[in-house]
């Protein structure tokens, strides 16, 4: 298909709470990706950065910040901000640039340094900002995750133990991932002993915020061939669709859903992979491995259904049966997911693609999914942002 680009290099700075400037993580990730691709920095023609809102002006202009830190060499730059989907939008910008023939090779990059505790809104009395309103009422991100989790319990009979299964599974996956922040096995008893944050979700059901950086080198198929990387994984789809009115599920940071009086209710999350499958011309039955946004354990179950990896309501059962483990029918979050990484917002969607690239190249070591050919990501952030990327070989 002519709409494809190749991923020839990937790199990640390990996730953690290192306390360095975010630029440090991005530069380390970029250098690893460049080495991996065998591309010299001076030959990169386009730098597509994912912005961070927490690190001052350099974070708002991340593309340029990283270009300067790597050494100005005249490349064109772009910076994207789309909350948790920032990395995918930065990738989409690079793909467009390459497919339009304006660049052969691009660096896609995101990094963050996060504060401790809850992600909080900007300061001041700002009742016009829905993000301010919900925090004034004491409604944090885990509130939304917990509302979805409780809804699953009511609709499908999921239990807290079903949610803990996701943590236990992802912790086992991340155990041998050198880039993961938390590399510790968790038992059901560990999860049950952790404090309740937002009933029914406990601390071990909810992802932390982390420092981290991830980078990709992407290029035209001709360029990949020219440098002897014709077999590199291809990007088959990037979906960054917005919700459709009337959006039926409470979305962060809103205090109410749309009213479905005059328009049919639509589910946003499920529409993200639906567009990606359509664009790639494949279906869920073709997927070998998925990296999904487990902001909470229960949310991983929602994503499994949104990706149509099982019928609606069955995700807890297939997780219990071991289908989503490495070695199972459809491994999910082989990297360890956000459970083992914690969220570094602008880097996270890129990190998902790094993991899938290693899987498709057969380089995931102890995490390897045998014969992985097609990988899909899914993520969602505030204000109608989300993404789903399909890569294949």
């Amino acid at each position: 298909m002519s709409g494809e680009v190749a991923i020839i290099g990937v790199g990640m700075h390990p996730w953690g709470k290192w306390g360095h400037n975010f630029v440090t993580y991005g530069v380390a990730a970029a250098q690893e990706a460049l080495r991996d691709a065998g591309v010299e920095w001076k030959n990169v023609q386009f730098v597509s950065g994912a912005a961070t809102m927490r690190c001052g002006y350099p974070g708002y202009v991340a593309g340029a910040t990283f270009a300067q830190a790597l050494g100005w060499q005249g490349a064109e730059v772009n910076t994207s901000y789309a909350a948790c989907a920032s990395g995918s939008q930065a990738l989409a910008a690079a793909r467009t640039k390459i497919l339009s023939g304006q660049a052969d090779v691009a660096l896609v990059i995101g990094a963050d340094t996060t504060p401790k505790g809850f992600l909080a809104p900007a300061k001041g009395e700002r009742p016009d900002d829905p993000d301010w309103v919900r925090f004034r009422l004491g409604i944090t991100n885990p509130t939304y995750f917990a509302l979805y989790a409780r809804r699953r319990m009511a609709l499908y009979g999921d239990t807290q133990e079903d949610f803990a299964n996701v943590k236990v599974k992802n912790a086992a996956h991340g155990l041998e991932n050198p880039r993961a922040r938390y590399r510790k096995a968790f038992s059901h008893a560990d999860v049950a002993a952790s404090p309740m944050v937002a009933n029914p979700l406990r601390l071990m059901d909810i992802c932390a915020t982390s420092d981290g950086g991830a980078a990709l080198i992407v290029c035209s198929l001709d360029y990949a061939k020219k440098i002897g990387k014709a077999n590199a994984p291809h990007i088959a789809a990037i979906s960054t669709v917005t919700p459709r009115f009337a959006s039926a599920i409470l979305e962060m940071p809103d205090i109410a859903t749309d009213s479905a009086i005059a328009a049919e209710a639509h589910a946003f999350r499920a529409s993200l992979p639906a567009k990606a499958y359509e664009e790639a011309g494949i279906g869920p039955e073709d997927v070998s491995v998925a990296e999904v946004y487990d902001l909470s354990t229960a949310l991983e179950l929602d994503w499994i259904e949104d990706l149509r990896l099982c019928p609606r309501g069955d995700a807890a059962a297939i997780t219990r049966a071991g289908d989503t483990k490495i070695g199972g029918r459809i491994p999910v979050n082989t990297s360890g997911g956000l459970a083992c990484f914690g969220e570094a917002v602008p880097a996270q969607a890129i990190a998902q693609i790094c993991e899938l690239t290693w899987q498709l190249r057969g380089e995931a070591g102890p995490r390897q999914v045998e014969g992985a050919k097609v990988g899909i990501t899914a993520n969602q952030g505030l204000f109608g942002h989300g993404s789903s990327v399909i890569i294949k070989r």
Partner: protein, 145 residues
């Protein structure tokens, strides 16, 4: 409750039967909360005419949770922090779900998805008002299960 208390947000009425104040598109009938009076967000409707619409005072509990840890600012906490429950309530007439805190003294153990909920007004701590400010909250309807 003293009637001098200021609201956290000017988005509801007080009195014996308080309700949220939303708006309704005059053309397609879509409700909005918070109030919208500019351009209807239904993509096939281009109306700029809205009526003020009191929203239903009763609804069905769609989901619920609580805040085990003290939320960050602008939330204003009591000292010591008192956890509270949060409800997402589905309004039948408006076909929408609205969030709010649950009244003091009602925890998650007293809540069940599908139960009838009622809108009430209660005070919450405030940084500048020593008596606190008022806000809408959800309360299980007497005898609801």
């Amino acid at each position: 409750m003293s009637k001098d208390l200021k609201p956290v947000l000017d988005w509801f009425s007080t009195g014996p039967e308080p309700h949220l104040i939303g708006s309704k598109c005059s053309a397609c009938g879509t409700f909005y909360f918070p109030k919208l009076e500019t351009l209807c967000r239904n993509p096939v409707c281009d109306s700029t005419q809205f009526e003020t619409a009191p929203l239903s005072r009763f609804g069905t509990l769609w989901s619920y949770t609580d805040a085990g840890y003290q939320p960050p600012e602008p939330y204003v906490a009591t000292d010591p922090y008192k956890p509270f429950a949060i409800a997402a309530v589905e309004l039948d007439k408006e076909k929408m779900v609205v969030l709010g805190q649950v009244i003091e003294g009602v925890g998650v153990d007293a809540l069940k998805v599908g139960m009838k909920m009622e809108l009430v007004i209660e005070t919450v701590p405030d940084k500048t008002e020593p008596e606190g400010k008022i806000v809408w909250k959800w309360k299980p309807v007497e005898g609801a299960q």
